[in-house]
Amino acid sequence: MLRKLFVKDLQLNPHLFWGVLPFFAWIGYAVREDGAPVGMLTTVSALMGAATASTVAAREDRFHATALLASLPVARTTLVLSRYALAAAAGGAAFVTAALLAALLPWSPHPMSAIFDARSVLMAVVFVGASTALLLPLALRFGLVGVVGFFAVLQVGGVGLFFLSSAFGLREPMRAVFGGVEFLLKNLYASLSAPGFAVLVLAAVAGAGWLSYRASVWLVARRDL
């Protein structure tokens, strides 16, 4: 049944998957430079791929196809599971595509070993896992409103943080915020070289994913269509 749900998502939402091609073309262009942030590019690609699972759910909501899907002979838990599987598969496929571009394009100076190193893969897994765990329950429960609402809250939160920082006399508050995020990411990336920490992070991501899946199943079962 999961395979049928995959085929449905791919065939009824092809432009979502083709839509990332310009981004990959840009990656192909960007990796020509020695100092290109290949790790960041592959991670962002994985994030974009994983986000398609939420976009697919939002599109179904927009076309009022959610009720049609729920009327098919498929258990709701399977429908939910297919979304998580799609996020993982699309995120993984996008990561591999971006990494292969960076590794195999003749003008790319980046060696394969530097692109497919364990820490880069782990970073991508952390980002995909965290974003999917946060976004999918909202997309499955509230549809398009949930996805848009998530980004609206992020945006409003950012603006709020800006004003709050200004109120406390912090100079260049956005730089402080982004600087903080950068510091966290750099530390996370550096710490992932320690096997114990990497296992801990992976366990945390798996736990968050499992909790998110259970929450989605609970929310979807209670959603009146």
């Binding site: 049944m1 049928k4 085929v7 599109r59 076309f63 009720a67 002979p73 498929v74 009146d224 269509l225």
Partner: protein, 291 residues
């Protein structure tokens, strides 16, 4: 509860803010067509959504061919052909693409049946769903619902918003299919004339409750509309009065026993055979007071 019924609802309730479906019980025998009628907002769509488990019931039991609609959800849904009042398919995909993807979800999906229906309904398979008229969308939804050998068809207001010519054609197509294949059908509508040709049973929903569920012929043969002035209608047993309306030329009373009403009413009263529309208007209309 037996296997003789395609569909059974027993004491089903659902509460929303401002609306409640209360203690709904009725059944559809195998091989019969049941019309679910009632005014807009009476609860017809909610009942259908409850059967399809699109909304969660607060209480009661729903069985489809003897199976619980929640515990045996996958088995139940594989036996149901469902047409929603506003069919939700992917607006920007062609009919062909959607048929190819959605059909295989049903174990008994039949491409030949679909092709036959698509030809009969003249479906433009290469067009995008969003570009179609409401009538053609309904035909596509019906073709999808009928192509997996469903034993029970659930049609929610399939004729609402269709022009009369198309509605007739749609009902003729449906009637022909039902006659050929002996399916059980639950057909919700507020256009009662839709049921005149095809319904075996009529279930009337009013303000979230089942007012009656009867064989159509029994209803139309035994019920009556009594017309006359107040004096002429005075002797009628209130227990058989199901609705009442005051008009410019007297009073109309819907009774559930036309013979008894004719015996007890005054000589100036007239008893007529009601249409389904009369029943609905008198039971749901302004000033009605059912027994």
């Amino acid at each position: 509860m037996t296997g003789d019924y395609a569909l059974e609802l027993l004491g089903v309730s659902k509460r929303y803010r401002g609306f409640a479906l209360k203690n709904v019980s009725f059944s559809v025998p195998r091989g019969y067509v049941c019309g679910l009628i009632g005014p807009n907002g009476a609860g017809k769509t909610t009942i259908i959504k409850l059967i399809m488990n699109l909304v969660r019931r607060d209480a009661g039991e729903i069985r489809v061919f003897g199976l619980d609609n929640r515990q045996d959800e996958v088995a139940v849904k594989s036996r149901i052909g469902f047409v929603y009042d506003s069919p939700g398919f992917w607006d920007d995909r062609t009919l062909q693409a959607q048929r190819a993807v959605l059909g295989p979800f049903y174990p008994s999906w039949n491409d030949t049946t679909f092709d036959r229906l698509a030809a009969r309904f003249e479906l433009p398979m290469r067009q995008r769903f969003g570009k179609l008229s409401r009538g053609t969308k309904m035909k596509f939804a019906l073709a999808m619902a009928l192509s997996h050998d469903a034993d029970l068809l659930i049609l929610d207001e399939p004729t609402a918003g269709l022009d009369p010519v198309f509605r007739r054609e749609f009902l003729q197509s449906l009637g022909g299919l039902l006659q050929d294949e002996g399916k059980s059908v639950l057909f919700s509508t507020h256009i009662t004339s839709d049921l005149d040709r095809i319904a075996d049973y009529v279930t009337f929903v009013r303000r979230g409750e089942i007012a009656f569920s009867l064989p159509r012929t029994d209803l139309l043969d035994s019920w009556g509309i009594l017309r006359g002035d107040a004096d002429a209608l005075r002797g009628v047993d209130p227990a058989i009065v199901r609705g009442r309306r005051a008009g410019r030329f007297g009073i109309e009373v819907l009774v559930s026993d036309a013979r008894q009403a004719a015996r007890t009413a005054g000589p100036t009263a007239v008893v007529d055979r009601p249409s389904l529309e009369d029943v609905m208007v008198l039971m749901a209309g302004e000033g009605s007071h059912a027994a």
